[in-house]
Amino acid sequence: MFTFAQKHNIVQQTRSTISGWSHSRQSREVNSILHLQRTNGIQRILDENKRKTAAKEASIGTETSRFDHDFSRIPVHSEKPFLSLAKPSHPAPTGSHSTQGGSTISGRAPGENENNPGLIGGVISTAAGNFVSGIAAQLTGIGINTADTHAATWNPHGAFNWRITWNMTGKNVGATTNGWLVQNVNNTYSGVDSAGAVITTARVGATPSYYEAWPVVAGAVQQPWGGVSDDTWGRPDLSVWPTVADAGTKGRWSMTSKVYFTTTDPTAHGLARRNVADAGDLPSAVAAPPDLGVIRLQRYARGTWDSTGPAPVHTGENG
């Protein structure tokens, strides 16, 4: 009989959902039923608590009126950077990083779109946006933050990797907090290859803007199909990426996101598993689901790469 010649160092994380398959030969039908039961269970909890949460939000609306602002109606963050300073007035929320510690590209990269936010303005916008979002979170009692599970790394030829896990925070987050965390991710690429052809978001294959969702059950963000809540941001090595495949490119990329909490099930409004390749296995869609409410958190990651010199350089920042 097969023996596994290693002691099992079990860590707190996903246990396989198929334990005992090899012994019980659990059928597909049984698994489907289990999945449906789980899904229906989550939805039932959401339905039962939607009324309570709505009542709570209504109460919060009364509370916010004391400040002469209705945060459920007034956007707390402009869609465009509302601070357009040439230099940051304070350090970026997190450090800058460099794979070589060398030069960066100055000015606008070839092919760069005017809508591509500059690094500094974007950082300030995100920081200021999160300040406002923090106020909103305080007023509503529901906030969102993250913890790194894999620190961001910038590798040659535009490659990047960063993983976080989600946390719900705030005085109103508890056992009855059920709903969905929705993230709107925006991607840009602007660069040029060694033949002078532009590198765009479409050429690389990133989706310019999309929405993705994680269920929130009893105040905890979950993976829809099991496991720990996880959000991975990755950019490929363009030197070997099929649509670029060039070791002499340079340019800029950016990822930004706005994060929401909603009690309106986005999977009933267009978000479906694997709709958007960038979202992996999450329910996702290009169109926004309804009732997103205020922005609870803003995130960003950016990189500037230059592989035209003797050694490839890739610098960037995230937060």
């Binding site: 097969f2 596994f4 010649a5 290693q6 099992h8 160092n9 860590v11 994380q13 996903t14 396989s16 198929i18 334990s19 398959w21 090899s22 030969r25 597909r28 698994n31 599970t149 894999h150 590798n155 896990t165 991710v185 479409a202 050429r203 690389v204 294959g205 990133a206 989706t207 999309y210 993705e212 994680w214 993976q223 199909w225 099991g226 496991g227 720990v228 996880d230 959000d231 991975t232 941001w233 990755g234 950019r235 490929p236 090595d237 030197s239 070997v240 990426w241 099929p242 649509t243 495949a245 060039d246 070791a247 694997r274 958007v276 390749a277 960038d278 979202a279 992996g280 296995d281 999450l282």
Partner: protein
């Protein structure tokens, strides 16, 4: 080239070298070594379908998946099982490969992102576009549990061929899949993978199967 990669498990008891299995399960694809993948697949093959799936499941259970999601297990599974006649390719891995980076017709590279040439699995995609959560390996484990047929024979990589010869055999497959020749940087990456296999074989890092204790 001598020192061929172990193509047949050295013990019918199938006691696995967990270090090698852990290496093959790693999600760090930029240092992909085809020899490790071949060795693991061939030993798992000797365990039979449910023994092999059990070993993969155990690996998932014991690994720190916060530190590493174990995406190398996707590659093990799609090499361990025969490509079904219908649809003619293995299920896609939803870990951040957009359509533009995949072959136009999935049947042209049925193991994608692996491309198998001379019984050597080479990895075409080593980094990904992701802004979300990658698919769990469990989804493919279930798929192969329900639908998979183990490959009929172990892999017998033609490691006696030169890397240039192997790449020469790969190019028509790539051209058929993508409509263009692989770029020099891609060929260099694939040659590096072949070199890692050569080094690990000749350097004798340990065979897949340990001696029974």
């Amino acid at each position: 080239m001598d020192g061929a990669v172990s193509a047949v498990p050295t013990t019918s008891r199938g006691i696995i070298n967990v270090t090698l299995l852990a290496a093959a399960a790693s999600s760090v694809f930029t240092t992909f070594n085809p020899g490790v993948l071949v060795a693991v697949v061939n030993t798992l093959l000797a365990l039979g379908k449910y023994g092999a799936l059990d070993a993969v499941e155990r690996r998932l259970a014991e690994a720190d998946r916060i530190a590493d999601p174990q995406h190398g297990l996707f590659l093990i599974l799609r090499l361990l099982f025969e490509v079904p006649a219908d649809p003619g390719f293995h299920p896609p891995m939803h870990i951040g490969i957009p359509n533009v980076a995949a072959p136009r017709d999935a049947k042209t590279l049925p193991h994608f992102p692996l491309i198998v040439v001379d019984d050597i699995p080479l990895l075409l995609i080593t980094t990904f576009i992701m802004g979300g959560s990658p698919e769990l390996v469990e989804a493919h484990l279930k798929h192969f549990h329900d639908n998979g047929t183990l490959r009929t024979a172990p892999l017998t990589p033609k490691t006696f061929l030169s890397p240039a010869k192997i790449i020469g055999h790969l190019i028509p497959l790539y051209r058929n899949a993508y409509g263009i020749e692989p770029a020099p940087a891609q060929i260099k990456m694939l040659e590096q993978q072949l070199r890692r296999m050569q080094i690990s074989t000749n350097g004798k890092p340990g065979s897949l199967s340990d001696s029974p204790s």
